[in-house]
């Protein structure tokens, strides 16, 4: 089911497969994952730890390193100059140029992402410098403005700070400012608020929402927190054991979750759109990706398992408009 890369598309990932060759065996981290991102939208990528969310997003710009390998996949991206390229096929130098410039990342833990030996200013400056030819003084100005934009007070002073001289929230804001420094087309935020206090979380999320809408960017937001998804996302992709099991408009998914995994996820947390009586847990644990279950990967934990679920992988079908699911319960 190959879709067409339309005018509205910014990113289209087709059949991405990433494997890790470890001492214990081959880990099928991501198996034939396909998804898309449109212009000016926020897409959430949801899943438990180990579902493959981070690996998927890092694979987009070929940031996977040994023992990992991107086995197959086509990643179509609309560049700023409107040209469409397959990120899997371009040269190393070209993808370096795209990274940090047109596609930017926000990592989960700002403390480990930032280099403790360099100031924030140096981080931002070098990110700009390696992509654009601008005078040093102007770069400095841009950096200070960026810090101001993300809500850091006294940016002229803060720009000379080292990471350890800042609080967690400020560090994450700094990381955001680094990522925005070259006005990217696509922002990939990997659990940007998980390591922060709840009050800061809200601020950062609001900030991200505002920046995205304001600059006409698109954002892929990775999270395992459904509350955040409800707050911020336009569309959602639910991942399980390296595959996408359900996707679609956020309202549709929350009001009518189709895949049993999604249903159980929603029953495990308070749902802003529906009233539920009791919070439940999902029995079992995520499967080993070295030896994934046959057929549908969720079948060992699924309450509705049928015979075919153990034998064949369900295809992704359009259950209703803008709502897709891969489950044998639906035809």
């Amino acid at each position: 089911m190959k879709k067409e890369f339309t005018d509205k598309h910014v990113l289209m990932v087709n059949n991405l497969t990433v494997k890790f060759y470890t001492y214990a065996g081959v880990v099928h981290a991501v198996s034939k994952v396909s998804f898309e991102v449109y212009k000016n939208e926020i897409v959430a990528l949801v899943g438990e730890t180990g579902s493959g969310k981070t690996v998927t997003t890092r694979a987009i710009t070929r940031l996977i390193e040994s023992p990992g390998r991107i086995e197959e996949g086509e990643i179509l991206f609309r560049r700023r100059n409107n040209k469409i390229v397959d990120l899997m096929k371009i040269s190393d130098e070209e993808i370096r140029r795209i990274r940090g410039d047109e596609i930017a990342y926000i990592f989960q833990d700002p403390t480990s992402a930032l280099d403790p030996l360099y100031t924030i200013g140096e981080h931002i400056d070098e990110t700009i410098k390696d992509h654009r030819f601008i005078d040093k003084k102007i770069i400095r100005k841009i950096s200070i403005d960026l810090l101001r934009k993300v809500g850091i007070p006294n940016p002229e002073i803060r720009i000379k700070n080292y990471p350890h001289e800042m609080s967690g929230g400020m560090r994450q804001r700094s990381v955001i400012s680094i990522s925005l420094s070259n006005e990217p087309v696509l922002l990939i935020a990997d659990e940007p608020t998980t390591n922060l206090d709840v009050t800061i979380q809200a601020q950062i999320l609001d900030l991200l929402k505002e920046l995205v809408k304001e600059r006409g960017m698109s954002m892929i937001l990775i999270t395992h927190n459904l509350g955040i998804v409800a707050e911020v996302a336009d569309r959602v992709y639910i991942m399980y054991a390296g595959k996408i099991v359900e996707s679609g408009d956020v309202y549709k998914i929350f009001s009518r979750p189709l895949h049993p995994y999604t249903q159980m996820l929603l029953r495990a947390v308070p749902n802003p759109l529906k009233k539920i009586i009791k919070l439940e847990t999902i029995p079992g644990t995520i499967p080993s990706l070295i030896d994934p279950p046959s057929g549908c990967r969720f079948h060992p934990r699924c309450p509705f398992t049928k015979d075919i679920c153990t034998k064949q992988e369900p295809p992704m079908i359009e259950a209703e408009k803008n709502h897709y699911v891969a489950c044998w319960l639906y035809k």
Binding site: L63, F107, A113, L114, L117, T127, D130, H131, Y162
Partner: protein, 352 residues
């Protein structure tokens, strides 16, 4: 907290340590029951009045705290007198320290040349032949008794190949030395600095352009320097390797790549992060070398500070001992201080 603050604080902690070292030296000297004066003059006379005079000159008949104070004040006045040779101890020390310095410097250069490239290659090509060789060298260096290695190096380089010699250390000519010594009078600051640098024989010769002295010095010292480097090189190479591996695989390097930094800038980040443990270990090694590798100086017959210290205590020559120990302790602490400062310069987190 700035760098200067850090430096000042470190220097302040320096002082009690030095005093502690001196006190310890003194206790050792004091605790030796044998009468040193007899040892000094035994070859000459046994006239009791002379012995008594020497005793009071060195304040051996005074209570211990007076003796200690006397020693410290002589130290600071730079007037410790060697009873055996009737010279100021510091003259002797300052003529021997530069030789130790030359050897240590040459050994350090060899050490860096061997260990850093090997360590980096071993990190980049993990589990390759080079990596295996680094492990082997580290093992060899720490298992081999140093004196045995020295003897074998002598066997190879001196006996078989006759590519070195084992007596004396080349020094620049007399005219060169006098010129250098008179510089501070004509050009106070610059002259002083150049004269100071020139007190190390090999530098002095280089400044005067006496290149044959320079090459002779290297010819004389390269075998012990190489041996010293081989003994420590493997260990340092391993540290370099591990430090690089840690730095390269860190999240901040992945983020640097994710930001699309040019390769050379990614390397710059990795390298700076890897540098800290490397500087520490190399600094420690250099400090150790400067403190006088007594065994190397003994086997290779080098008239350096280590050997001098050894001789002074076997002969119960306390002023010489105190003077040398003082110098060695100061050197060691200075090297540590420099390492700490460099460390703080590179890693801002340390400045607290």
């Amino acid at each position: 907290m700035s760098l200067t603050n850090f430096i000042i604080r470190r220097i302040i902690t320096f002082i009690p340590t030095i005093i502690g070292v001196m006190f310890l030296t003194y206790i050792i000297a004091y605790a030796i029951p044998t009468d040193p004066v007899r040892a000094w003059v035994s070859e000459k006379l046994t006239d009791p009045t002379i012995i008594q005079r020497i005793r009071s000159e060195y304040k051996f008949d005074a209570p211990w705290y007076e003796q200690f104070a006397f020693l410290i004040s002589s130290l600071f006045r730079g007037e410790l007198n060697d009873p055996v040779r009737h010279k100021n101890v510091f003259d002797e020390i300052f003529s021997r320290f530069p030789v130790t310095f030359e050897l240590a410097l040459l050994a350090l250069i060899f050490l860096i040349i061997i260990s850093i490239p090997l360590g980096i290659i071993a990190a980049l090509y993990k589990d390759s032949l080079v990596d295996f060789f680094v492990r082997f060298l580290a093992l060899f260096g720490s298992s081999m008794p140093s004196f045995v290695l020295y003897y074998f190096m002598i066997l190879i380089f001196f006996t078989y190949f006759k590519a070195t010699y084992l007596a004396g250390v080349p020094t620049p000519s007399v005219s060169c030395a006098t010129t250098l010594n008179s510089l501070p009078q004509s050009y106070p600051v610059i002259g002083g600095i150049i004269s100071f640098i020139g007190s190390v024989p090999i530098f002095g010769a280089a400044i005067c352009g006496e290149w044959d002295v320079v090459t002779e010095t290297i010819k004389r010292l390269y075998v012990p320097a190489l041996s010293l480097a081989l003994l420590n090189g493997g260990f340092v190479a391993r540290i370099v390797r591990n430090s690089f591996l840690d730095a390269i695989s860190s999240e901040s390097i992945v983020f640097a790549k994710a930001r699309g930094l040019k390769k050379i800038n990614v390397w710059r980040h990795a390298f700076k992060n890897a540098l800290v443990p490397i500087i520490t270990i190399i600094g420690l090694n250099f400090g150790g070398l400067l403190s006088g590798a007594v065994i190397a100086e003994t086997v290779f017959n080098i008239p350096g500070l280590g050997r001098y210290m050894y001789d002074s205590i076997s002969r119960l020559n306390f002023p010489a001992l105190i003077g040398s120990v003082f110098l060695v302790a100061i050197i060691y602490l200075i090297v540590n201080l420099i390492v700490d400062i460099l460390y703080a310069y590179i890693d801002p987190r340390i400045r607290y």
